[in-house]
């Protein structure tokens, strides 16, 4: 019997015919993920090394949220046990009861609403999982054949496929299939490329990603002149994503705002305070087909919808889970999955090739050390970025090591900040004026 069926039976019974009155449920919610994952890696140019062997994993686990008859709540992680008999589950129910706590704002299970149609499954991925996974071995072989001779290559390909089940006491009963394909590679752990979506990457995407990485790797072999105080800083798309993930997204978490632990206050949102330059908007969009952050329904049973966090530079709403929405006095919003599902838009975005031509004196930041150590609430950063790329007169001319000092909120509000579109990434290049000096 499937875990979701066990749980549904157990919780339904506890709601309507409990074994003990103390164990009577008023409401409940279940989310169960069944997944199969196949992966293969490269370590130091070796495919499938002892540290990155071809791997298969299977799991069936989930989370429950319970509202007891006295209004108390419980939440627990659950998995299918070998001895999943009636007595076992009753014992679990008693333990969940013991772990109950008072949280009136959380004790709400949304009533079902129509779900949007969003494609989150690529059937080809299921074929890989149920077949021999040859595509993984072929891709790794191709990478190793095409790589330059000098660097040590690291990499990984992972495919995942499975079912997501969501059940609530208010009548929601949804099961759908979802898939995932994630691949990345790097040379000497200094430069690399990655792909992560709910579908397989297309040959032309793989080719373009490889060519871009090779061009940047070649540029890193040349020593370039140092930066000066007027040098423009350009964050590569992955860096834009990392900076937004460190400084911006955490401050839009509803619970942080409500608990006054974020950079913005509730009043800032209610007054639609201008915090970014008016050209910027920030959106959570789980409706884009086959994107990693796309979904049909949240684990709390809220249908996917598009939520604008910042419109024309002004705060609109934090992202709100059910509990936070009750406290905020609004409906629950879309939720990001990590950074997936978040989109930064700029009204004057141009293609990267065009933006690059316009850079007289710049430095392209591919990665920084220690970003996760920076203070998210203040937005201030002090970072070292060895292995950055110098840009002079519209051309990438070689490697340079720099240190960055500034404040990301100030960067997002500055009229000098621009973005450039990357055809391979969901986040743009971010062109900023900030403190930069040679390392």
């Amino acid at each position: 019997m499937k875990l979701v069926a066990h749980l549904e039976d157990l919780l339904y019974q506890a709601q309507h015919t409990p074994v003990k009155e103390d164990l009577r449920l008023a409401d409940w919610r279940i989310v169960v993920n069944e997944s199969e994952v196949v992966s293969l890696g490269i370590k130091d140019n070796s495919p499938g090394s002892v540290y990155t062997p071809p791997s298969y994993s299977q799991s069936e686990s989930g989370e429950i949220f319970l509202v007891w008859a006295d209004g108390k709540c419980s939440q627990a992680m659950v998995q299918l046990e070998a001895h999943d008999d009636q007595a076992y589950w009753q014992q679990e129910l008693s333990q969940w009861r013991q772990a109950s706590y008072e949280d009136p704002d959380a004790a709400h299970i949304p009533t079902p609403e129509p779900l949007p149609l969003v494609t989150v499954e690529d059937p080809e991925i299921q074929t890989i999982i149920s077949g021999d996974g040859q595509i993984l071995f072929d891709q790794v072989k191709r990478w190793l054949m095409d790589k330059p001779s000098e660097p040590k290559m690291q990499g990984s390909i992972q495919t995942a496929w499975g079912y997501r089940h969501i059940r609530t006491s208010t009548g929601l009963s949804v099961t759908y299939q979802q898939s995932q394909f994630v691949s990345w590679f790097s040379f000497d752990s200094l430069i690399g490329g990655s792909f992560a979506k709910r579908r397989l990457s297309r040959p032309e995407e793989q080719q373009k990603l490889w060519e871009r990485t090779m061009n940047l790797y070649d540029a890193l072999q040349i020593v370039a002149p140092p930066v000066g105080p007027q040098t423009q800083v350009i964050l590569a798309p992955s860096m834009t994503e990392d900076m937004l993930g460190q400084f911006i997204l955490p401050n839009f978490s509803g619970d942080r705002v409500i608990e006054k632990q974020g950079a913005f206050t509730k009043e800032d949102f209610l007054e639609n305070k201008l915090v970014f330059h008016p050209h910027f908007s920030l959106i959570i969009d789980p409706l884009c087909p086959l994107e990693l952050g796309s979904y049909l329904v949240t684990s709390e049973g809220v249908p996917a919808q598009r939520t604008v966090l910042v419109c024309d530079g002004k705060l609109q709403t934090p992202y709100l889970r059910v509990k936070d929405s009750v406290r905020w006095g609004a409906k629950p919003t879309a939720l990001p999955h990590g950074m997936s599902g978040l989109y930064l838009k700029h009204q004057a975005e141009v293609p990267w090739s065009q933006a690059l031509e316009a850079v007289e004196d710049g430095v392209l930041i591919l990665s920084v050390l220690g970003l996760h150590t920076q203070e998210a609430v203040s937005g201030s950063y002090s970072l070292s970025a060895p292995h950055s790329l110098r840009i002079l007169k519209g051309k990438i001319v070689g490697k340079t090591d720099v240190k960055l000092t500034g404040n990301f909120f100030a960067d997002m509000a500055a009229p000098t900040t621009k973005t450039a579109l990357s055809e391979l990434d969901t986040f743009p290049y971010l062109v900023i004026k900030t403190g930069v000096q040679s390392l």
Binding site: P54, Y56, V78, L190, K260
Partner: protein, 497 residues
């Protein structure tokens, strides 16, 4: 699931591999976790969880490997995984993977370690734990209502059993518990947060804290410090004589040094040459030592590796000279070091990698310091100690870096960065406070700059090692403070000079 039950399951699954001409490692793990978070006087979350399963690593007779995992801890599931792992190993052999037969050379080990916890996992009911955590949280809010406080308590028990084709069967229990206070303060339109913890093996940490309130005092002091940091100026960037606290020293030893001597990193490590550890290399001044090994009762305690070898305590640097690395059975020999049982994994679902447990840095030249109850009193005592020993350099800033917010290192280039909570100039009798700024440079230069320690050893700085995308408990420390000379290859960020 109990230790004996898991052991029986592993034996039974291994019994099914008798006809296979290769080698199999079976890892089984059963994990229980209770956690709670209180924010502004209300429970935000109380959660219970359990996770258990098998990880099977199979090797063909020539040494190609395959790995299969499942979160069902049953005999049937284990047997299926063995077949799947063997199938993957054979596929791997066909693509010309680098073969590795080191596991055949590993010594056979039989061990059943007792759970070192003083209080068993469920001995204190969850309701009582909630009450204790709420009491601690409420006290903080009463004393310091202007700070936004969040208190968390987390208790974990992991039961592991590792069985191998050669008859090895090792089982042990890892208990861990931590109570944390996070405070967010605002001043002059700026916000800062501070996080402070107390760790141990079990619910004893809550009982101890309720009795002595050590964490509470630290949290209040750190919140006051964070408030002062809000309005503090930035330092000009540059190269300064530094005093770092033991949390930062743990970060330095772990990120900058420990990772660089792990046996799987020797091809990409500044401390490797031709894939082998640069044994005999002078990396620090005489008197500087770095040791790694598990400590009973510590956050990162693990008595055996995830490959079933005894975890040894290793002197990585002795008297300033690189002596040994952290080797697991698969890559130690190739890296020119002995296998010391360094393989650790987040869970049954991950392939073990060589990594640290508790790493500690000590210096023979130690200035004594009596630990004081309050932070700024201790900082004053540090200044007085330095003055007394003629260690403060006239006319120069001597900067004490407080708190460890994490760091990152590129082991290939030797570049490192660390972040602290804030900085105090102990050369100035006013003890002015500055904004935190990135502490960065080259790892060998940073080690070479260490000139002494202040105070006795403190090894309870905790963290999570993220190597290979896994999350594994790590810990360590040094003297209460470490003294470092100014070095042109080690700098503090901040404003342009």
């Amino acid at each position: 699931m109990e230790q004996k039950d898991i052991k029986a399951l592993v034996l039974s699954v291994l019994g099914e591999t008798r006809g296979f001409d290769g080698y199999v490692i079976v890892r089984a793990q059963s994990r229980r976790e209770w956690s709670m978070r209180i924010s502004n006087g209300r429970f935000e979350r109380v959660s219970t969880g359990a996770d258990s399963g098998f990880g099977v690593q199979a090797f063909t007779k020539d040494g190609a490997s395959g790995f299969a995992t499942s979160d069902v801890l049953s005999e049937g599931a284990g047997q299926k995984l063995v077949q799947k792992a063997i199938q993957l190993a054979r596929r791997n052999e066909a693509i010309g993977t680098k073969l590795n037969r080191r596991i055949w050379e590993a010594p056979e080990v039989q061990a059943e370690e007792k759970n070192p916890a003083k209080k068993s996992f469920g001995e204190i009911p969850l309701v009582e734990l909630e009450e204790m955590a709420m009491t601690l949280h409420s006290r903080l809010r009463e004393v310091s209502p202007e700070v936004v406080w969040q208190t968390s308590y987390n208790q974990v028990e992991e039961v592991w059993c590792i069985g191998r084709t050669d008859g090895t069967n090792v089982s042990f229990v890892i208990p861990r518990a931590v109570v944390m206070h996070q405070g967010t303060v605002r001043d002059q339109g700026k916000a800062q947060s501070t996080l402070i913890h107390r760790s141990g093996m079990d619910a004893s940490v809550l009982f101890e804290e309720l009795e002595d309130h050590v964490l509470e005092r630290k949290a209040l002091d750190r919140a006051s410090f964070a408030k002062a940091v809000c309005g503090a100026p930035q330092l000009p960037s540059g190269h300064y004589p530094l005093i770092i606290d033991y949390g930062l020293a743990k970060g330095l030893a772990h990120e900058a040094f420990g990772h660089a001597v792990e046996s799987d990193h020797m091809n990409e490590s500044v401390l490797g040459e031709g894939g082998k550890i640069r044994k005999g290399l002078r990396v620090a001044r005489p008197g500087v030592n770095i040791i790694d090994g598990p400590l009973v009762g510590d956050w990162a305690y693990q008595p055996y590796s995830a490959n079933g070898l005894l975890r040894q305590t290793v002197t990585i640097v002795r008297d300033g000279v690189l002596e040994a690395g952290l080797g697991d059975v698969f890559s130690a020999e190739e890296a020119g070091m002995p296998a010391t049982g360094a393989g650790r994994a987040e869970s049954y679902g991950n392939v073990p990698l060589p990594r640290m447990s508790n790493i500690r840095l000590s210096v023979d030249r130690m200035l004594s310091l009596t630990p004081l109850e309050h932070l700024m009193d201790e900082v004053k005592a540090v200044r007085e100690t330095l003055l007394q020993h003629g260690e403060l350099i006239e006319g120069e800033k001597n900067l004490l870096l407080l708190g460890y917010r994490g760091g990152q290192v590129n082991p290939k280039t030797g570049d490192f960065v660390f972040q602290c909570d804030g900085i105090i100039d102990v050369a100035d009798p006013e003890l002015p406070i500055y904004q935190p700024s990135i502490f960065s440079g080259k790892i060998l230069s940073a080690l070479e700059a260490i000139r002494g320690g202040i105070g006795e050893g403190c090894y309870d700085a905790i963290g999570t090692c993220g190597k290979g995308g896994q999350s594994v408990a790590s810990s360590g420390g040094s003297h209460r403070y470490l003294l470092m000379d100014a070095d042109q290859q080690v700098s503090l960020g901040g404003q342009h000079a």
